[in-house]
Symmetry: C2
Subunit: 206 residues, 2 copies
């Protein structure tokens, strides 16, 4: 009979050697980022230093940006958990406007913390692919906006613009050319304050 216990649903589980290699690659990538900076991580170099073939790297991550995406994944999940089920005002339990403000502050800090890798995880082609962090931010903002009922009709466009206002400054218009320099610790705070003001004006109800 062909009735294996799990195989339908997920095509098959990840092979043991594949899992081992992924860990190996991720660890090596982290080491290379720490040692050489984001720019110093090349596909060939990563493969060689991990003692694996180039093809393996591509099988696992698909693209160079994919490496950094994977590197970010863990922290991204932690952040997401805080938003989805952490304590208020970031998590559920506070009013939508307070949550919007808290989200903006937390997100700004997160982006500033992971600046180099976030930027490296962006792919030139395909503007912000479907599953990306920016999409999550946008959906969350969109959701909180519809709860806040700011008396604005086109909440989709507004959410898009607020997403850009939140992530754009850190991801695009900021960041020093230098490899691993946090630009300015106070700047993230100022952006957080400014975000709060912006939200309070857009959603005046309170």
């Amino acid at each position: 009979m062909n009735s294996p216990l799990v195989p339908l649903g997920r095509p098959r589980a990840e092979r043991a050697d594949a899992a081992r290699n992924r860990e190996q690659l991720l660890a090596t990538a982290r080491a290379m980022v720490a040692e050489l900076g984001v720019e110093g991580v090349t596909m060939d170099g990563l493969a060689e230093r991990a003692g694996l073939g180039k093809g393996t790297v591509y099988r696992r991550f698909g693209t160079r940006a994919g490496i950094f995406h994977a590197l970010l994944d863990e922290d991204e999940h932690a952040f997401q958990d805080q938003v989805m089920s952490g304590p208020p005002p970031l998590g559920p339990g506070a009013g939508p406007v307070d949550r919007l403000i808290a989200y903006g502050r937390a997100r700004t800090a997160y982006l500033a913390d992971h600046l180099a890798i976030v930027r490296a995880s962006l792919d030139r082609k395909q503007p912000v692919p479907a599953g990306s962090p920016a999409t999550l931010t946008r959906m969350h903002i969109r959701m909180l906006l519809s709860l806040a009922r700011p008396g604005i009709t086109d909440l989709d466009s507004l959410a898009l613009q607020l997403t850009a206002a939140l992530e754009g400054p850190v991801m695009l218009y900021l960041s020093a050319p230098q490899p691993t320099t946090a630009p300015d610790p106070a700047l993230a705070d100022r952006l957080g304050d400014s975000w709060q003001t912006l939200i309070e004006r857009v959603c005046p109800s309170g």
Copy 2:
């Protein structure tokens, strides 16, 4: 005596052959964009098709993004002139809030029109270099904000966020993967409307 008429100030004028070659390269680049799309323009291909060496292309434009920057330059100047000395409300003569709104609408339309080339003119490294259009947008917004006196202290941060809100959606979060498809003509309008609402809330004085 060493007293040539102009040479101090500008080191020397552009050589005639250099000017001719630049025109040639620009024309060829335009043709290639029309024919092959933005992706089809390669440095080698451009050089060969223009009948010039690759070194020449790099001398003129520095980088691949530089080509598109140059391609944009003319239209960018025209846009700038409208803002600086055109009729109100885009040009001077209207109140700052009206000018902010008009600027946002005009800029959105401009970006949507030139989407493919604008995106191609962005360079991965060096996040939005100093002389770039985004900087101009930011300075203009900053200037109008200080005239509008919205009762907000950190106008620099606010200008940064509004710049991102304005340019981010078109440049980043929009645009189809397809070479030369205008995503949705109505979308630019909706973003313009949304921008107006945003500005009206941020600068309530009128």
